[in-house]
């Protein structure tokens, strides 16, 4: 075997504080097998993880879940992130965070809030979330965020049921006072993979939406920052997933397992280490899961000799495994992959069936 590649400094830590969530979004990126409440890391352990992350060079921590508001010690955890010197970002459904909690989080040094919305039409939004009244609560919390002068990002996950309303959703974000909006086309892992046929838009819908986003960027330049996650089933080149395996980001699950990305546990045979047994630095540098696809030595053809290999890193390892059965294969989104036709076939499977809501 080749010598391990030296680990670069990670920039971001995704802290999945809990997998519990009141919503049931059918595209949830959590795994199908959710971590249980009684196995969740406590606040003291999270505080240690944050200090170790900061020492590794991590700059930003994303407090996520599930719904982080389901943690009664969220304020304490947020304060620990700030005390460790990290920039803290709360990624919330807004359901389960009261204005009083939000004010305490703000006092504890929270830097930024991201609220997800499911649609600009409330009835559709609540149907997608599987939670009646969710939409109204999200809008109400967004108002509180802006009142506290905290910066607000609105995140909207785009799929067949709402793709026609991208423009309306950006207008909604503007009216709520968001400074930034994330338009994220569904990525097919976890629950989204399970619901792929019910979520998949058509190629024409995607092309229209992408053009619309470009026009919206131009129109709203200077008023709101628009970031977009492009839909990859219709792409010809793969995304540089998580900025390269074990290069930029670290994901810690509610139970303390440390993953190179939130979906990595779908890949069989990877050995994940836990923050209860190892320091974050040890895990980042030495754990088998982080070493598995770091650098380019693991690559096969067509990636191995590809001039893009240091730019897209062969795309997504999880997607390569999920579609081709081989985690070392090129991401089949790439037009050079021998499995590229399969991705196109899968994109054509669209069935209007009820969602399998996440558990």
């Amino acid at each position: 075997m080749l010598a391990p590649v030296n680990a670069p400094n990670p920039l971001g830590l995704l802290a999945e504080l809990t997998h519990r969530c009141p919503l049931g979004c059918p595209y949830c990126s959590n795994p199908l097998e959710l971590d249980k409440r009684d196995g969740e890391l406590d606040a003291a352990n999270w505080a240690r993880v944050f200090r170790e992350a900061a020492a590794l060079g991590v700059l930003q921590v994303h407090l996520s879940g599930g719904e982080p508001g389901a943690r009664r010690d969220l304020v304490e955890i947020t304060k620990a992130a700030r005390d460790a010197g990290l920039y803290s970002n709360l990624i919330t459904s807004a359901v389960g965070i009261t204005p009083a909690t939000l004010a305490k989080l703000s006092e504890a040094g929270l830097d930024h809030v991201q609220i997800s919305i499911q649609d600009s039409e409330q009835e559709s939004a609540d149907h997608i979330a599987g939670y009646k009244g969710a939409s109204a609560r999200k809008r109400a919390l967004a108002v509180e965020v802006v009142k506290l002068r905290l910066p607000l990002t609105i995140n909207m996950v785009v799929h067949r049921a709402n793709i026609a309303r991208v423009s309306d959703m950006v207008d909604l974000a503007l009216s709520l006072g968001a400074g930034r909006v994330e338009i994220a086309h569904v990525q097919y892992y976890g629950w989204a993979l399970k619901n792929r046929a019910a979520l998949m838009p058509t190629r024409e819908q995607v092309e229209t939406a992408v053009a619309e986003v470009e026009a919206l960027r131009e129109r709203h330049h200077g008023r709101i920052v628009i970031d977009a996650v492009v839909p990859d089933y219709y792409a010809r080149f793969p995304k540089p997933c998580v900025g390269g395996w074990g290069r930029r980001s670290i994901n810690v699950t509610p139970a303390g397992r440390v993953l190179p990305c939130h979906a990595a546990e779908v890949i069989p045979g990877l050995e994940f280490w836990n923050v209860r047994e190892h320091s974050l630095q040890d895990i980042w540098q030495n754990s088998p899961a982080f070493q598995a696809f770091r650098g380019t030595d693991w690559m096969q053809e067509p990636c191995r000799a590809c001039p893009q290999r240091e730019k897209d890193f062969g795309g997504c390892r999880c997607q390569a495994f999920l579609i081709t059965g081989d985690a070392r294969a090129a991401d089949p989104v790439c037009h050079l992959s021998p499995h590229h036709a399969r991705i196109q076939e899968l994109a054509n499977v669209r069935v209007d069936e009820p969602y399998a809501y996440r558990g």
Partner: protein, 97 residues
């Protein structure tokens, strides 16, 4: 799109808004600007401008101060750099005027 849409008057007092922080980080090799889900590495010129964006002084004063600190550069050129950088950052919600 690269040209700032915002007019930057000399009397504006630019400052980092809440949620944008300039921090020094050894592991990342120096100063970084942290913003909502984004991280920027300012170059030396941007750093000279950014560290003066305290909300306490206006754009004209920042230009004067830089002209004093860098006597080799023409004031007009400094003014253009400052206005372009501050306007561009304000468009990206990284500065408040």
């Amino acid at each position: 799109m690269d040209q700032p849409v915002r007019n930057v008057p000399g009397t504006a007092h630019p400052r980092l808004p809440r949620g944008v922080r300039l921090v020094h980080n050894e592991a990342q090799g120096g100063w970084v600007l942290l913003a909502p889900e984004r991280v920027f590495k300012p170059d030396a010129i941007a750093m000279e401008i950014l560290k003066r964006c305290t909300g306490l002084v206006n754009v004209d004063t920042i230009v004067d101060d830089l002209a004093k600190a860098f006597p080799g550069a023409p004031r007009e050129r400094i003014h253009d750099d400052v206005v372009k950088l501050i306007g561009g950052l304000a468009d990206k919600k990284l500065l408040e005027l």
